[in-house]
Structure formats: C-alpha cells, structure tokens
Symmetry: C2
Subunit: 668 residues, 2 copies
C-alpha cells in the first residue's frame, strides 16, 4: 500500500539542501551501529506479540501491569534467544531496556528492566568470584528475577541516612534484616512490587554490635514456586505515578528476616564467620557506576529532544493557521517566527547534546582506563562534570519537550501526540540518579576548591583550565560575536560565577560560620556557578565537536551543521544574557546584533528543518505520535487514534441509562 | 479521633509570628464569601456519594468516564436543589464547576461542566428573548444537556478559519449543516463525546449562496430518549489526554443535518425567512466573554500556586535530608537555602497573582460598566492587559507547580502527591482560551500602536502611561533598590522593549515589507515586549495592592506581607536581569545587593512559611496530597495511598502464573 505524503511535508523534503541519511549515520553512531539498530528494530517491532491493539492510556492500572508482564516476558525471551546465539552486547541491553526501542515496546516502562540493568551488574561488580558463580547463571537465565533496593521512603540522595539494618548473628552465621521505622521501608525500586523474587538490598551493616557502614545483600523476597511473599517480608507496589506506570516500583519492609552470611556481596568488604569486619580498600571506585549512568543520561536527553522536535517540526509543516498576510491563505505555522523560536533551538540542542554525549563518553572511557592503571587524578574532574551535565541536560530536555508540546497547541495535549509520555520520562530524569540541585552542589564544591587552587597559581585540569585564565584577566575584551568569542565569553562568565561563590563563601567563613553552613548559605551562588560551568563546557564542546564533524561530511550537510551550531550558541548566550551583561561590557548594539543573528539563524534553518529532523531517523513506531508521523497525515492519524477509545466502540454508554437519563427526566 | 500533628510541623506553627486565619479571610474574599465557601465544602465534601473508594488513577478510561457521570449527576442534583431553594449564585457555579471544590469532587474534570458554563450562558448572551424562553428552562432543568462546539480539528485560535458550513435553504426554511473536510470536524468540546444531547455549534453561515460570517446554532446531536446519535451526526470522544481525562471531550461531524431557522441564535445577527441576512450592529461586545474568562484565569493561577506551594512547603518542613552541619542530624529540607529558593517565591507569586486578580477584576467591572453606558474607549486597553496577563500567569503557574513538584524529590512524582494532576490542569491553561503566544502578540499589537501615539505626544491611558514617561526620559536614574524603584525600573524596561519592537517594525516597513509581514518578522520582539508589559503591571499592581492590604491588617501580618512583596519584586527583577542590565546602568554592587536581598527575604520568610501556606486555608480533601496534609503525617499517608492499589489487594498477581513462571522455568 503506497501512502500519500502530505504535500506540505513533501515540499519541505524536496527543497532541502542536504541528504538526511548522511546525518542519520552520524546520529546513530556510524554505519555499523546503525545497521545493528535497524536489525533490532526489525526483529522486535515486527513481532506480532509485541504490538498493541489497545493504547495503554485506556487500560486500568492492573490491566497495564499484566500487559507489561506479558510483553516484558516476550522481550526477555527474545533477549535470551539473542544471548543463546552469542549475539548480545551492551548495545542490545541498552536499546531494549533503556533506549528508544525499549520504550517503544513498553511505553510506560519494563518491570523487569532493573533485573538486567541493576541486579545482574551489581552481582558482577560487588560479588566475589564464588558469589558470581552461584548467582549469575540463575540471573542470566532469568530463573530468578531480581531488583536493586536502596532508596527508602524517608531517604534518597543522602545514602548514609538509610535505616534498614542488617545485624550479624555469629551464632547462626546469619544476618538479621529489619526495617525499624516506617521511613526505613525500601521505596521506589522497579519491579519490586509484584514482579521480582530476589533483591539486592542495601542496609546498615552491624557486626559485633558495631555499625560498619552500608553493605549490599542478596535477599529472596518471594517463594520461587508460589511467588508468595516470604515470612517477615512486607512487600507491594508504591502506587500510581506521573509516568513509568508499568515499572511496578515497590516497597519492602523486613521483620527479622534471616539470610546466610554468604548473601552479603563481599568483593569490596567482608564479614568473617566470627563477625570480624574487613573494610573496603578503596571507596573511590564506586564513583564509576554513577558516572557511567550520568554520562548515558546525556545521550538520553539528546534522544528525548530529537523525538520532541521531530514531532513539533513535522506538525509545524503540516499545520496551517493564522494568516501572516491577510491576502494569503493561512501559512504553515512553521513560517511564524515565534514558532521557529520554539522548535528550532530544540533541534539544535538535540544535536549539541548528542555531540556532547559522545565527547564525554570518550572522556569517561579515557579516564576509566587511567583509573584501571591506578591514575585517579582526573576522577574528581570527571565526577564534577558528569554531575552538572546530568542536571543541565535533564532540566533542558524536560523543558524542551514541553516547549515542543506547547508549540503544537491543544493537540500536543493528547496522548496520541505522545508528548505526555515523553514529558513524563524526561522530567523523571531531573530527580533520579542524583537530584539535580544536589548534582549542581556536588559540582560547585569541586569548582570552589579549584578556584582556590587557581588563586594560588596551580595549573588546573582541562575542563576547568579556563578558570586559570579568568583569574589573570579581570576584564573580558574583544567580544566580536564570533562563535569562538561566545564560547570564551561563556567561560569568562562561568569563572566569574565561580569567583562570586568562592568570595561569598570566604565572607561567611570570616563571619565565623563553618564550611558546611557557609556552603548552605551560598547555595544559590554555588548552583549558579555549576550551571554556568556546565553550560560553558557544552558551548565549547559543541564548537569543537560540530566543527570537527563538519570537516568530515558533505559541504551541504556541513553548512547546515554550522547553522545549528551558531543557533545553539547565540540562543544559549541570550538565555543567560543577565550574566553576560554583568561581567562583560557588551553594548546595546552587541545585544541587538545577537538578537538579529538569532533570527537570521532561524531563517537559515527554516528550509532544512524538516530534513534535519528526518535525519534523526526515528522509526514511526518509536516516535509513536499522530502529530509526528513521517507521512504527515496528521489529522487522519488523530482520528484513527480517537476511534480506538473504548468509549467510541458503542453508540451509547451504559451510564446514560443508569445515571444521566433518570436525572434528566426527574423534573418532567 | 484526635490526630497527632507531626512535631516538626507543629514547631513551625508554634513559632510563627502571625495568625494564619487573619490572612485566610482576605484570601477567601472576605468573611462572608469565606463562610459561603465553607458551607459549600461542608455540603459537598461530606456527601458519601461524592467520596471515592478507589483513586481514579487506578481506573480504566471507561471506568473513569462512568465514575465521572455518576458523580457529575450527583453534583448537578445538588445544584438543582440549591437552585430550587433560590440559593444559587455565580460563586456557586464557579466553585462547583470550575473552582477548587469542583476539581476536588471530580479531579479530572466534569463532563457536564460546559453545559453550565458555556451552553447556558451562550443561549443567554446570544439568543433572542423567544429563544431564551424556549431553551433556557429546559437547559436549567437539565432536561437537555448541551455543550459548546467551536474549535475544529484543523482550526483553533484563528476563528475565521473554521470550516463547518450552515447553508440556509429558503424552500424549507432550514439550515443544512455539513463538515466538508476532515479538518472541519469539531474537536475538543467538553461533554460532546458521549454526554451531551445538544450543542451550540459555530459555523460559517451562507444565505442566498453568500458567505455571511460565523454564526452560532443550536443543534440536537442525540435522541432524547435513546441517546443514539441522530442521522447525519458522526460523534464520539477524541481520546485520552494529559489531563482532564473525564471531561469527555468530543468530535462531531455533520452530513446534511437539517435544523429549523429558529435554531440559529439571533440576538446579534439575523437571517429572515426569505434568506435576507441582517448583520450584527457592534462586534466589539464579543470581547466581553473572552476578557471575563481570562480575568478569571488569573485567579485560578493564584490557586494553582497556592496548592502547589502548600504541598511543597509542608513537606519541606517534615522531610529531613542531607546534613548541613555534619555534627547535626539531617535538617528539615526547608533549611536548605536552595530549597527555600524553590518554594518561597512560589508562595509570594500565589499571593501577588491573587492580589492582581482582584485588581483586574475590579478594573474589568469598572470598564464593563462604562461599556454598558456606551463608553468603549478603555476596552482595547483592558483587552491588551487581559491577554498578556493570561499568558504570563498561566506560564508561571505551570512552571511554579513543576518547581514545587521537583522540590519534593521523587515523592512529588507520585499521584498521591497530587502534583501530576495539578500540573496537568495548570499547563492546559497555557493553551486554552487563547494560546499564550497568540495572546502576547495581541497585547503587543496594542503596545506598538500606543507607542506610536506616545511619540506623537498623545497622553496614554493608565496601564500604559509609563510609556509616556519613557519616551521623554532616555535614561533611568536613581535606582536605589527600593521597591518603588524596582517597579519603575520594570516599567522603564518594558517601555524600552516596546520601543525596540516598534523600531524594528518600522525598519521592516522601510525595507518594503507590509505591516503583517513586518509583525511576523518581529514576532520575538513583540512577544517579549508584551511579556515585560505584563510583568511591569504585575509588579506595580503588587506594590499597590499589598501595601494597601498591609494597612488594613494586624502589624504582625503586615510585616509578613511586606516580606512577600519584597521577595516577589526582587525575584522578578533577577529573573529578568538581562533586560534590566541592558537598559539600566546597574553596577555589579547593585546586582550583588539584589542577590543578597533575595537571600535575606528567604531567611525572613522562613519562620512564617508554613503559617503562610496554612493561611491559604485549603481543605485537606481539596489539596488531596499525601505530602501536603495538614497534620504532616506524610509517610503514613503515602503508605495508605499505596495500599489502595488494586495490585496490592492480592499477594500474587495472575500474570505470574500465566507468563512469568513458565518463562522462569523454561531453562531448568
């Protein structure tokens, strides 16, 4: 069946100056990865058992869970198949459990995801060789399903606050697990509610009556045959949420639950049978996993923005509304400058985040390799960078999705646009894996420290080297509006924000406050400094990565990429104009020029905007949006989706006869 | 049963310096209105038929609709009772159908609301006396249920783009209604899907083959006995959405549907039996309803922020996390400066929006009274003001709700926090009743026009009089940081933003572009000018209203109100710092002083923050939040809510036996 393409959309494609597929190959990580992804999409999206008849937004909570279990089992079966063929790799799990494909298959989340992405890796990372032998084959085979239980009802970011206790009993060589308070109940772990039968539980370890720190334990929570909760285990799901409704996040309380000694994961720290505690040698390595996850989140943010801008951009080409010239028919809304300002910077941001994601991914790998050789000195830098970038890109991604949604008017409000789900997922990232404000404060702590070093003449590591410059130069000169000067200006502004945080902290110290209290009093300055540091990094890294990329592609694509880069930088600068004007002596005409350049960038991107989002190469099933379909038959698709509503399956709903009619006739 | 108050929350209440109830009386609109509201709450919240056993987030779409019909009928019965007792007034309908109480009763919206708030008023406003006699008693009695069908699948804000046709057939003295295209289907009207049997339909009127403009028609869409759709009527619901899931928004298409001549609402324009068209005398009066609704939305925005900040503030007093001083226990998170920066400005904004709502409500009434005497000259000013305020307060309310939600960490993500619903409702306002960007452009059109007048020496009307000043004074002097000077600075900045929009428009005109094309090219400048105009109004009106209020209350309350005012103004200024620094020569120490004052305001509000939100006087059932409960027993409530999940009603879900177990055992 050949599908008619909406003529407005076809026109956009006909007049584009570059070939989207060339961009797609870079976006997907190179030809080979691109093909792997296509093969996975083929294998999973065409499986009839993984297609939905009824959109999940019509299901009850319970139906949704049962639906999710059916599908997650089907996905796990196929993963098992791939694994048995020896064809699995990290990308497979990423794509199917966390990535776009996984989300397309199970829109509100996979209740078994944490088994693969947390339970198995934790055993690998923290179990001894014996423990790995014992548990990994069962886990890989899925003859047990696990999750990772750390967060508690009253305790999140601050790990040392966790209250769950594991007391070692030498007499029986067992740990006794207890949840002493309501706030100590485990709360949030995915799959914990009704799905998993095992969990890695993080608890306060006590041996010989003494507190030893936190430790991870493997705990069976449900019977392997009957799935009934085991004695002493109080377990269930935490209830409905803004998004990720089918992840089956759970709560878990313990009452004198006994587990054998060898169920504590002992690679890093040990408890001997007599209760002797052997502490871990090096705690710095636990940075690793958190950094890895945060780096991955930068790439996810790029994807969220790519999806949102694809929907908004295509719809903006199809939708006609509000005449510009009263003599002409209603134009494509993409011709309204205000619409361009909403959508195009998000396209640019998607690409810049993607380029940055690659950049810090490489940096992470370099530093991890150094760490494995024992060189730990770049770890704090990388930690600081990953924290603020996590905060910035997640906040920007959530805001960007909403900007795109709102640019689609009322229709963006419908579930068939897919924006509600996209937002639910994007905004969740602001909180999980380190709440954003906490992340910024972590970065800021590092920045203030290195600022002090810079004052003392210490040469700083690459990502903060700009602070060395700024300490020397009090004034920023020669702002010529070039992209290089915008990047330098960003760094200068960031350095001054760090300076202010540093100086205010010093003032508070001189007033007699301790370091922690001073830091709290300067919390606003600190978070702002970290924000600017991250944004300066994004700007400089965008300049570097996209300039480099443009030398490796066709001239046509290179030209568009340069527009994207300029748009990103000018927009970023105008969005922080207060900081720029505070520290840099820009004239009114400098500002006017930036504003006019922004408009000029929008105008230059206009003819290639649709081609650019086509270049993201997002499968219609993955985009899952009536407004964003590749063929542009938006209204037909909206109608099709509406017809799926169970209320539309019968001409008269029973509630008419039961409630409405008796009421309407009551006065007659 | 006496309930134990959380000690941290009790401590806050014990140490507050003012009595919240004094503030509550003002917030509720005076003692008399307060008592009316309490009486309504008593009557409706205690009705056992209006209580829910199962939280709606667990229901399927269809269950939710049937639940909503049951409850909306019960609400309508009680309204009928109140009406029959002659005790109904505008406030009753506001409270029960649009207001907080209505939302508490039917969280995702009332499918019969549009009957009362649009169908009935439209007949009253646009029907002739005969038509009112014919239709109103049936409508008031609810022996027919109507809705208002204007927006179409392809046409929203730009009314003249509507495609539904009503062709007058003189031979039978009937109109023939048709939906010529898919984009002409009515789309979005509340209650249209399965609920209403009548609708006011706005269509293109043709008589004698000529297009006459838009006109409203009363159309029966379903049989009064069977509720079956009538011949030629294609009707259903549009499907699931981000929020307002039980409003039953519908679509509607016509195929040669014939209605009698007297079903056109003819107060303003007429069609005579022979097809002669009599046009309306004055179209300016249709401004009225739209302005009314937008003015009401300012008050709704205040309420949204009051709810969100109540939840966040109480939770911030109860939640303890992340030590400030490592020697101390984890503090209430409200002691973190960064947390204060999230929550306290939202409290201030709620109060400022409320005060503004009262202010423009009075202005609206004054101007409406003038209009009724034939004086139309302040109408454009009021229209311009209501447009930009609608855009600003709805955008700020949505953003404020999210800031509060995120300030509650992961728990804000749960439906039991009520944040997801609050956000869904708040963000919807950005789009309905005039999409925000379109609103800002409407205001800007007015501003640019009056700017030209000011250049010609015309004395402008009150809300734009500051432009007269700015045209004379090129430089802003004497910024002393006082609240008055912040307000004047806001006006100066707004005037300069208007100037830039005006000048850039002029430039485009000189380059040969027509006025509309120039306006589109300057869309960014125009929307920014309108935004600053609205913010300058909010600032000046906040100063005026809150200063006035503080002279009418106890000294203790007055002091807190002045902190609120200062916090609002300083925060607003720092949020537009780029604009301030561009047009006003502030020194670095001016900026530092503003920043330190912001921190000082946060510190001063800290002891009274909980008392302030207590002062909003929001009933626990209306707040509907486990995190925001008055007694502060947050964790117990979260648990209670979790236990309501249907998945927690049985120890093992059937999907274990059906899918999970066979899969887990497959490899053994």
């Amino acid at each position: 069946m050949s599908v008619k393409i909406n003529p407005d959309l076809q026109k956009e494609r006909n007049t584009a100056t570059f070939v989207p597929e060339e961009f797609t190959v870079w976006w997907k990580g190179g030809q080979k990865k691109y093909e792997q992804i296509l093969a996975l999409e083929e294998m999973f999206l065409n499986d009839p058992e993984l297609k939905d008849d009824l959109p999940i937004s019509y299901m009850s909570h319970k139906e949704l869970y049962e639906h999710a279990i059916r599908k997650s089992v089907r996905i796990a079966e196929k993963i098992r198949e791939i694994r048995n063929n020896g064809e699995d790799n990290v990308e497979t799990y990423n794509a199917l459990l966390g990535g776009s494909l996984g989300t397309a298959l199970l829109k509100e989340g996979n209740p078994m995801a944490l088994h693969f992405v947390m339970f198995v890796p934790t055993i690998m990372g923290q179990g001894t060789m014996d423990q790995q032998v014992e548990w990994l084959s069962k886990a890989w085979d899925c003859s047990i399903i696990g999750t990772y239980a750390q967060t508690e009802l009253g305790h999140g970011t601050f790990l040392r606050g966790l209250e769950t206790r594991a007391d070692y009993d030498e007499k029986t060589q067992e740990f006794v697990l207890n949840s002493p308070t309501i706030t100590s109940y485990k709360w949030w772990p995915g799959g914990l509610g009704q799905t998993a039968n095992y969990a890695v539980v993080v608890a306060q370890l006590f041996t010989k009556g003494e507190f030893r720190g936190l430790a991870p334990f493997i705990v069976q929570v449900r019977d392997e045959e009957t799935h009934m909760p085991l004695p002493g285990i109080d377990i269930g799901e935490i209830g409905s949420k803004l998004s990720m409704k089918s992840v089956n996040q759970g709560y878990l309380g313990f009452k004198n639950v006994r587990i054998p000694l060898n169920h504590m994961l002992m690679k890093n720290q040990q408890v001997l049978p007599d209760g002797t505690y052997v502490p871990p040698k090096n705690s710095v390595l636990t940075y690793g996993t958190m950094m890895f996850v945060r780096v991955a989140l930068v790439r996810d943010a790029a994807m969220a923005l790519a999806k949102a801008s694809t929907i908004a951009c295509r719809y903006s080409a199809v939708r006609r509304q509000s005449p510009i010239d009263p003599k002409e028919p209603e134009p494509q809304i993409m011709d309204h400058t205000t619409q361009q300002l909403k959508v195009f910077p998000i396209i640019a941001k998607a690409i810049v985040f993607k380029a940055n994601g690659e950049n810090i991914w490489n940096m992470y790998n370099t530093i991890t390799a150094e760490v494995e050789k024992g060189a730990l000195d770049r770890l704090p830098e990388m930690h600081a960078l990953s924290c603020c970038l996590k905060a910035i890109v997640s906040a920007d991604a959530a805001a960007g999705v909403e900007t795109c949604r709102l640019s689609c008017g009322g229709h963006g409000f419908m579930d068939s646009s897919n924006f509600p789900t996209l937002y639910g997922m994007a905004t969740a990232v602001c909180t999980y894996e380190g709440e954003n404000t906490v992340m910024l404060l972590q970065t800021a702590r590092y920045l203030v420290k290195v600022y002090g070093q810079a004052l003392n003449g210490v040469k700083l590591v690459p990502t903060v080297a700009y602070i060395n410059e700024a300490v020397k130069t009090k004034e920023f000169r020669n702002f010529d509006g070039s992209m290089e000067s915008i990047v330098r200006a960003f760094q200068f502004v960031a350095a001054n924000k760090v300076r202010i945080a540093y100086e205010r902290m010093e003032q508070r110290r001189k007033q007699g406050y301790g370091p922690e209290v001073s830091a709290n009093m300067c919390g606003i300055e600190l978070t702002q400094a970290a924000d600017l540091h991250g944004r300066a990094f994004l700007a400089s890294s965008a300049l570097y990565e996209l300039t480099k990329l443009s030398t490796q592609v066709s001239k046509a694509l290179a030209e568009v990429l340069m527009v994207i880069l300029e748009l990103y930088l000018v927009d970023a600068c105008l969005n922080r104009l207060g900081d720029f004007l505070r520290f840099i002596d820009l004239t009114d005409s400098d500002v006017s020029n930036l504003e006019l350049r922004l408009q000029n960038c929008l105008k230059r991107l206009r003819p290639n905007a649709v081609a650019m989002v086509d270049g993201f190469g997002i499968h219609d099933r993955i985009l899952d949006s009536a407004l964003g379909v590749y063929d542009g038959n938006v209204y037909e698709r909206m109608f099709e989706e509406a017809k799926k509503s169970p209320l539309n399956k019968e001409p008269v709903n029973q509630s008419f006869h039961k409630y409405l009619k008796p009421f309407m006739k009551a006065n007659l």
